[in-house]
Amino acid sequence: MKCRKCGGKAAVNMRQHKLALCKEHYLEWLPEQTERFIQKYQMFTHDEKVLVAVSGGKDSLALWDILVRLGYQADGLYIGLGITSLSDSPMVAGYSAESYRLAQKFADERRLTLHVVEVEQTYGYPIPSLAEMTNRGKGRPCSVCGLVKRHEMNRIARDLGYAVLATGHNLDDEAAVLLSNTLTWAGECLLRQGPVLPESPGLARKVKPLCRFYEREMTAYALLRGIEYIYQECPYAVGSTTTYNKELLNRLESQRPGAKLNFYLRFLQARQEGLLGKIDGERRETLQPCPQCGQPTSAPGLCSFCRLFARTKNKEVS
């Protein structure tokens, strides 16, 4: 297969775009497209400070790399979750330890600023222990993990004066969540899903600049750029619904190239046209500050994050 731009040997083939590119042209094309999406969805400008949530995985490190290449003011935030490998092998490093090492290495090699929050040092417990202490995540801490990460990302963005919080969600991530929410007709969740979640008092703007790239494309970018990322999957994600949905969508994609992209883009169009109801930005007026941490919450009283720690303290007392 040949590169459409130069006729050289192609390294990446994107069947949904009928486009094959060589290494050099692919590494130009992907940041150009990212810039296009940043502008199309009005994510942020070159004057704004962007905080990139980095996990040590391919998507978040690639996003940071792209934003820096595009000349944005992008710093990183790593949240240490305290997840060890479930394997007994001493050869397998703890998942969080290894992901932190790779995120820090990436930052050091490029002289970038990486902010680090260790959940255990800040709140007393790593994520798996927190999950065990609450009904929210016994045996599967993903729900507690997501809650803590969202809270901490927003807290750090607010405290350090970042206007924008960028995450490395790719199209496969978005399509898998969309499929899950569609199968359960989770209307509120569908309305919140999009490339941009606008800022509101106490909440930073959240953006997903990679939301139109397939996961396969992001893997190719990371490999071709020589970005060292954590290849090991989070031990708690094995067998998750998201992974299952991604596999389902990939089966569909292999028979119908472009199916994933169409599914997501047609959803965005329907959402934008109001077919699903009022979108989230118009609904923020119902939020109020949590009396403890000050972050906005939809219910009266403590937010979910503070309620989680209140329950943890009750467990300690009992």
Binding site: A10, S60, A220, E233, A237, V238, S240, E247
Partner: protein, 67 residues
């Protein structure tokens, strides 16, 4: 000599002379779910696999760790 395809800890073997796409299908691997590399270079589905080739397959699906 057969062609080796390595995905995480698993090793598959196929005959040389077939395309990467055919080899993946023969091994029951969804092409959409992997990136193939040979001698450090990315190769595409139409690549004809040669005798003794060792192809490393990089799984593209990640889950849970991303923020």
């Amino acid at each position: 000599m057969p062609v080796k395809l390595i995905l995480r800890e698993k090793e598959f073997q196929t005959k040389p002379g077939m395309t990467l796409l055919s080899a993946l299908e023969k091994c029951g691997i969804l092409p959409e779910s992997v990136i193939a590399t040979r001698q450090g270079e990315l190769i595409l589905e139409d690549e004809i696999l040669q005798e003794g080739d060792v192809v490393y397959l990089v799984a593209v699906i990640s889950g849970g760790g991303s923020v």
